[in-house]
């Protein structure tokens, strides 16, 4: 006798309560980051050497603003997903494992918000 609801059966999630989302999103963000990494190298080179006005003008053009927001979301998400796997591999004890994964996720959420807010401030100036 199957006690599962039709919804739980179609979702295909067992006692792990999670499916392939983590693995899948790691790949989706990875693919997004292939072209965006080259964009980042260009932006980083600009912001480390170019005059203030030039960097602001460049970053506030719509295409580049979209690129930086996309890069921030993809990179910080990808980093949190990756670090979670590293923690799961090396931290065996359940308590410290859950605490460190939560800490990593919250830290990267916080950093991503800080970066996005900085972009918002640059766009409002420029």
């Amino acid at each position: 006798m199957d006690y599962r609801t039709p919804l739980s059966r179609v979702k295909g999630l067992g006692s792990a309560k999670g499916g392939t989302t983590h693995w899948w999103m790691q790949r989706v963000t990875a693919v997004a980051l292939i072209p965006l990494s080259f964009w980042l190298i260009y932006f980083l080179g600009l912001s480390l050497t170019a005059p203030y006005q030039q960097t602001v003008v460049w970053l506030t053009s719509p295409v580049n603003t979209v690129c930086i927001v996309a890069w921030i979301i993809a990179a910080f998400y990808h980093a949190a997903l990756g670090l979670q796997v590293v923690i799961e591999d090396y931290v065996a004890t359940e308590g410290p494992k859950i605490i460190s994964i939560w800490a990593v996720n919250l830290a990267f959420l916080f950093l991503a918000i800080a970066a996005l807010l900085a972009v918002f401030r640059i766009v409002s100036i420029g």
Binding site: I41, L44, G45, Y52, T55, A114, A115, L117, I122, I125
Partner: protein
């Protein structure tokens, strides 16, 4: 019953010579961790830009110190290495190229490509070094 500590052990990390693919695999993980640390530096750079011309110039002055230049070039190489081996993982995810000779050939291609991309960034000359 006394425990016999003189039993033979199976090969593990200390006595096992990692093949090239194994070295690249652990380097992928290490560069990944390095890059996440680099994200903190990115937040600093973008916040300095948001702070205005003064904080931007101060950030550039700090980043032109040789120690930070070293960190930045390490970040750039780590990024290209992680990108090249990441593409390799995506090819593996499609279920192909697990043959031993292909593994070793692609490992060499990754190393050369990541080094070439770093040198291209260097030759581009926009990092003031």
């Amino acid at each position: 019953m006394a425990i016999n500590t003189n039993r033979p052990t199976s090969p593990h990390l200390q006595v096992y010579k990692l093949p090239l693919t194994g070295i690249i695999s652990i380097t992928h993980r290490m560069t990944g961790i390095m890059l996440t640390a680099g994200l903190i530096l990115f937040v600093y750079v973008i916040s300095a830009l948001a702070g205005g011309a003064d904080s931007y110039t101060a950030m550039q002055a700090l980043m032109s110190l040789w120690l930070f230049k070293l960190v930045i070039w390490a970040f750039i190489y780590a990024l290209f290495f992680h990108l090249c081996h990441g593409v390799r993982h995506l090819i593996w995810d499609s279920g192909s190229s697990f043959e031993l000779d292909t593994l070793n050939r692609y490992a060499m291609i990754e190393l050369v490509a990541s080094l070439a991309l770093t040198l291209m960034t260097f030759a581009w000359g926009c990092y003031g070094l």
